[in-house]
Symmetry: C2
Subunit: 87 residues, 2 copies
């Protein structure tokens, strides 16, 4: 499956969420990631995210599609994630 | 068509981008929006975004799908956009 994941977490947890998402997905912008992922890895990602997050305060939204072909991506302006050297 | 739009713009332009996106889409988290949109409106949105953005610095990423049914959304933690009272 193909997913787009966006987190919005408290400042203290940003670094951990960033590292977590980068282990599973490709960073494309700020707190936005995308990538092909298996169902098992997807479950792991959510499980690990929950262990980092304060679920009363933080939010982690994931859009998923069975196939990348159902999704088109368009970038206006600067393509940030194209050079994968963040952190 | 159904789109997910995420912007990452300089502090000075955040307010304008937020207002712009809210005119066309539903706010779901920080700088993330989603919604059903016509091709014509989608072009307008991108045109207006370009007029606000500094294309050397800012980035606006749009994922689109011909139909919302190809996309599933899952939220871990707090569902922020559910109460649409931001700004």
């Amino acid at each position: 499956m193909y997913i787009i994941a966006v987190y919005d977490v408290g400042q203290k947890r940003v670094g951990k969420m960033l590292k977590l998402c980068r282990r599973y997905l490709n960073w494309i912008q700020n707190s936005v990631f995308e990538g092909e992922i298996t169902e098992v890895k997807f479950k792991q990602l959510k499980y690990e995210a929950r262990s980092i997050m304060d679920e009363e305060e933080d939010s982690f939204i994931i859009f998923s599609s069975r196939d990348e072909k159902w999704l088109e991506k368009e970038i206006v302006g600067k393509e940030r994630g194209s050079i994968d050297n963040f952190l």
